[in-house]
Amino acid sequence: MQSEIIVSGFGGQGALFAGQLLAYAGMDAGYHVTWIPSYGPEMRGGTAHCTTIISDDEIGSPLVRHPSAAIVMNAPSLDKYEPLIAPGGVLVVNTSLTARKPTRADITIVEVPANAIAEELGSAKLANMVLVGALLAAANFLSVEALEAALEAHLPPRHRKLIEANRQALRRGASIAATVRQRGVETLVMT
């Protein structure tokens, strides 16, 4: 089994860190993992995305054409990755920064106003964790607890004070997506 997750957003939105955290959690859970960033065209003002692969087998290519899941944090990312997700995969959309609706019918779509929720939780910077939480609940390849443990184990010392807030954000995201599965619907719009 192999899960490939792309996280994509503006520089500064924490897309790269979200992908790293997934990799940490995967590693701690005993999987093979790779994480690879792809700088946008520029260091400043561009977009940043990364690919995390979590697999129970040795990983060849760290890049894939059709990921099994994607978290898109802004409009250009939605346009770029929605068409690429493998059929049956999961798309988590940050509706706070996307205007249009996703259109694919063959994937699970989770729409989360992550910035709004994050600001509610105290900081727009937590949007990435809200989205990761949502992904986990929807896609089921790692538990929220595994992510929480990874936060605990790998957040650099200078950021440790943020652990609790991050954890809350993860849970909020997860609880949202949990609803998706319960309801058995394909698309959930959180308002």
């Binding site: 503006f10 003002g45 802004n74 920064l97």
Partner: protein, 86 residues
């Protein structure tokens, strides 16, 4: 009527707010609720008390050259010219 007024190209503004701090008349502010296509909160020109003097300091400090500054004509003879700030 204020002595001057400014027009801001909101789509090109990056919201650095340098103009805000440069303006001595306090007629510029970040539009917290607005967000432009590049993801920035642009500047708004709000001058209810008609304080803008058209001094142009905002334009001089703006790194993105997005502010145009107008001033009431003092010498109408000088039509068709642009007074540069240097």
């Amino acid at each position: 009527m204020p002595k001057g007024r400014v027009v801001i190209n909101e789509e090109a503004c990056k919201g650095c707010a340098l103009c805000v701090s440069a303006c001595k008349q306090d007629v510029l502010a970040l539009a917290e609720s607005q967000i432009n296509a590049r993801g920035y909160h642009p500047i708004e020109y709000v001058d209810p008390r008609e304080r803008c003097t058209g001094c142009g300091l905002c334009a001089v400090i703006c790194p993105d050259a997005v502010i145009t500054v107008y001033r009431q004509r003092r010498t109408p003879a000088r039509a068709n010219t642009v007074v540069t700030l240097s």
